[in-house]
Assembly symmetry: C2
Homo-oligomer: 267 residues x 2
Amino acid sequence: MHAQSQASSQVNAQNNRLLGSLDPDVYQRLAPKLELAAMTRGEIICPPGSKLTHAFFPVSGIISLLHMLEDGATGESAVVGNEGMLGVVIFTGGYTMTIEATVQNEGYAYRLPAEVLMDEFNRSASMRDRLLKYTQALLAQTSQTAICNRHHTVQQQLCRRLLLTLDRLPGNELHMTQEQIASTLGVRREGISEAAGRLQLAGLISYKRGRITILDRDLLEEYACECYQVVKDECERLERIPASPRKHLPYSTERRRRVRPPPPGNH
Amino acid sequence: MHAQSQASSQVNAQNNRLLGSLDPDVYQRLAPKLELAAMTRGEIICPPGSKLTHAFFPVSGIISLLHMLEDGATGESAVVGNEGMLGVVIFTGGYTMTIEATVQNEGYAYRLPAEVLMDEFNRSASMRDRLLKYTQALLAQTSQTAICNRHHTVQQQLCRRLLLTLDRLPGNELHMTQEQIASTLGVRREGISEAAGRLQLAGLISYKRGRITILDRDLLEEYACECYQVVKDECERLERIPASPRKHLPYSTERRRRVRPPPPGNH
DNA sequence: AGAATTATGTGAGTAAACGCACATACCAAT
DNA sequence: ATTGGTATGTGCGTTTACTCACATAATTCT
């Protein structure tokens, strides 16, 4: 299918929340430079150490930020969907990353040449504000992934990962194999098989051959570790902060805590 | 000891590499606003969710970015020493973090009011350049911690953590208890006891009651996982990139790979 | 000096995830 | 309809780290 012939509801650049939240004049300036690109599953958008020539703003599909160790072991530090962008390194000035950007779920992204992004970043306070807040959100997600990897079970992480995907794709059916999920979580395929089996038994999901259907999203959130909600709350908080805030923001040491039923066991 | 009476070699603001790498005119503008602050071990500089009023530029000592889960489990996503700063959230616009900034090793830091940092960030391209590159370095470190937590053994992570500390403190003696290290790595104290015992047996370190002496740094690097070197290389790469680069940077997909002897076993 | 506190060492049993091996089931292509 | 490839299920022995329970040793306090 030709990229330009996509239904406009799916491929409107404003469906990327970062692009959609820009000041109208900034967006107008960028719009002519945005080009639609299809992202195919498994595609490596940017290998580690190679220069990123474009920023990618997904409107559908998910890009995974994936580590690969010397021995071939993998693991994801964050995902990028229509809430964000790939290409923070363009305006942070490093040009390259230590990790690989891979398409985890196929879809479309608008891409913007690095120089255009950079120019607008330097020119517009509004653009800076959005991109920098997103950078903080990305850092929060990455950081939470670190502690999640340390302390939570494969089943909890699987639930979290499904929710991350669900939030970034339309519908309740996800296209990903257990093998794929395993390599994003950095665990064995068999581990996903067992955990997914339990989730299916409990009626949270159903799946067959790379097609996962979420049956009970609320339950999935209960089975997931807190990491999902912590990152989601932080991203929403960041999106709510206005670009030019009052001089003195309300001082708060409180963080939202959800009351949550005791998490079901692993078995 | 009174902060202002410290030997100047230890408390010169230029000993913070981030401050030291600023354009002279930028530094001159900031210098009068910098105030020396003593950081005591265990001090919580900024609890999660509370507004950071100052950026901290350590000249000695280490600040740890620490997660705490609902059940009390902890884990560090990154460390901040004289190579960087605490307070990225000031210019990224979020004001608060989901994680806690704690003093892991006591020392001194210069602190700068958030508004001053923000003003200079908006005003000076040189300041932006340094701070943004540091942001990328922080992200790289955090991201690597995520994969490290997933795949490497306690012993490997202990070695890495010791090296991170060693790089940011003078001398070869570190002041930290096994309990402290355990909570930064998010593992049991007994696990550190065992791993540290093996490292001592192997002649890499010696220690007693919170005083660790590094005897063989090279060997320590061999015992550590690759994560240490990956992050170090990336930080050095970022520091080397000039602020206003040529239009076309040399394109490279290569990343430095160290030839390394086969790592010694866990026992 | 003796007691209390703090730091560290060690052992036994348990749990989670791993590596490996192989069985089964689904889908697609001829 | 058969075949081949891909995806998933399952069992078993191993490893790593965990929980729990103390023992020992160094430092500080009175």
